[in-house]
């Protein structure tokens, strides 16, 4: 069975807040849901499938269905960190294709800034029962120094440079200047990235994504319902997911789960990397983008540095426009989970609703990719390819 063209993204919403001192977590989820449903021209009463992940409060899907008064016949709380919502799009399409629901709602929200969370720089433990914790937590693994080890190895093995990584941030900043909601709207140069303080060798402060409150939501629905609505038609063409882990100690930090999620999505969609006009790539750090683009087939392994350099990711300038909202590096990384906003900007591009200065011409095939967890230990990779009719 394939999901190709069996489900459509009918509504998307990115919460405009970047610091939500005056809102509760459940409230942010619900506001995001209302935004995406209004965008689609649907209401809460139409929702019969609900998807959320570890950022949802309480008992997750149960608590939020209760809060929003949803009447559900399908629920999916797949948790793969920041890539969860990209996986949810694929799962929603599967559920719709199988007749398990008609209108699937996916929500994300969080308030790490309001709560003063040391997101990237404090060692994170997922509890004493996690089988890995005793063998990792004593060594001070933070989000930054783990991704930094992947960057360090890539540089050692392939000669990737800090300047090449910096180009990824530069491209994101070129796009973010046009986004009034972006946390960081200032255009930066390669030199400014390289002169920003080192957080964990070789990653500088400006190699790291922003920390923001907020959220977003996506509505996926059946083709017949999508055609009855007033919005442009955005079919789901293909989806792939993968989990990469430490493989019992056979560590290889030079690739991600995208080596499996990408080909699966391309095969289902029946397209190749050369057909893709726009990419949303999870950008927790610059290195995340570079390795992912290689793994998805946009550059041979080890050659990602050349792909991302010299403005090649800048819309209207380079050959592979990426993250035209400014991405996690400049715009928004709500709840420390950037997968949902990746899908949102890809939908804007396909609808022709991106900012005119970054809108890709004739954008008919777009790819959104999420990476959740840690590049250095265990992560979930998710790729969706979407189109327009």
């Amino acid at each position: 069975m394939t999901i190709k063209r069996k489900a459509y993204i009918a509504g998307v919403f990115e919460h405009p807040t970047r610091k939500a001192d005056d809102k509760s977590l459940a409230q942010l989820h619900a506001e995001a849901a209302s935004g995406a449903l209004a965008d689609a021209g649907l209401s809460r009463a139409d929702v019969d499938g609900y998807f959320c992940a570890g950022d949802a409060p309480g008992l997750g899907g149960l608590s939020m269905a209760d809060y929003m008064g949803l009447q559900l016949r399908h629920i999916d709380t797949t948790e793969t960190g920041g890539s969860s919502y990209v996986i949810h799009v694929g799962h929603a399409a599967e559920a719709i294709a199988a007749g398990k629901c008609n209108v699937a709602l996916i929500t994300l929200a969080g308030r790490p800034r309001a709560e003063g969370m040391a997101t990237g720089t404090a060692p994170r433990s997922y509890g004493a029962a996690a089988p890995d914790v005793a063998f990792e937590f004593p060594y001070g693994p933070t989000v930054v120094n783990q991704y930094a080890m992947a960057a360090m190895r890539h540089m050692h093995q392939y000669g990737t440079t800090s300047a090449q990584l910096a180009w990824i941030k530069v491209a994101a900043s070129q796009h973010a200047q046009h986004n009034p909601h972006a946390l960081l709207r200032e255009v930066v140069t390669v030199e400014e990235v390289l002169q920003s303080p080192i957080i964990a060798d070789p990653l500088h402060r400006l190699d790291c994504c922003v920390i923001t409150d907020g959220g977003g939501a996506i509505v996926v629905t059946r083709p017949e319902i999508a055609r009855s609505l007033a919005r442009p038609l955005v079919p789901v063409l293909g989806a792939g997911e993968a989990v990469k882990h430490q493989a019992g100690g056979r560590i290889d930090l030079t690739y991600t789960g995208a080596v499996r999620s990408g080909p699966a999505a391309f095969a289902e969609a029946g397209v190749a990397p050369a057909d893709v006009k726009y990419v949303s790539i999870y950008d927790s750090f610059t290195i995340t983008v570079l390795i992912t683009l290689e793994d998805l087939g946009f550059a041979p392994k080890g050659q990602g540095g050349k792909l991302v350099a010299d403005g090649n990711l800048v819309s209207g300038v380079g050959r592979l426009p990426f993250n035209t909202d400014g991405g996690g590096l400049c715009n928004n990384h709500p709840a420390n989970r950037g997968g949902l906003t990746k899908v949102v900007e890809a939908v804007r591009q396909l609808r022709g609703e991106a900012h005119p200065r970054v809108q890709v011409k004739n954008c008919d095939v777009a790819l959104a990719h999420g990476t959740g967890g840690s590049l250095a230990t265990r992560h979930g990779s998710a790729t969706v390819i979407i189109g327009r009719e």
């Binding site: 005793a134 001070g140 120094n145 992947a150 360090m152 964990a200 990653l203 100690g249 930090l253």
Partner: protein
């Protein structure tokens, strides 16, 4: 000689890993080896992550290894080096590189095992330049 003044949180010990941490207390690094497929793995599990067999045994590691990757965390109050070290026996493990000039650490460097005390737990295996 930076990197050792940091307070190291004690690892939580459970029945599955008790033997590993008892050995660590004696200055020995243990690896799990699968009796069915002969492969060694880390972190240690009761069942083999390669073939699924629950016939696993503890074996002693030589304590020799090379640095696969590392990063010095400059933002910390006391900068320290996190690393993956590939053991002579095969598996690669997360660790810290200690008792050395943090700026002189390199991928491929040969390192040897040492143990460092933790707060409220058994000592943990770390590595320093050989």
């Amino acid at each position: 000689m930076a990197g050792t003044e940091r307070t190291i949180p004690g690892p939580p010990v459970n029945p599955e890993t008790q033997a590993f941490w008892d050995a660590a207390g004696r200055g020995t690094l243990l690896l799990k080896r699968c009796i069915a497929c002969s492969e060694r793995h880390h972190y240690p599990r009761a069942s083999c992550p390669f073939c699924g067999s629950d016939r696993t045994e503890w074996t002693e590691a030589s304590g020799r290894g090379t640095i696969y990757s590392y990063s010095v965390f400059r933002r910390a109050p006391v900068p320290y080096a996190i690393a993956y070290v590939t053991l002579a026996e095969g598996p690669t493990m997360m660790t810290n590189i200690v008792d050395c000039d943090l700026d002189a650490i390199r991928i491929g460097q040969v390192v040897r095992l040492t143990f460092k005390p933790t707060e409220g737990g058994p000592p943990v295996p770390m590595f320093s330049p050989a």
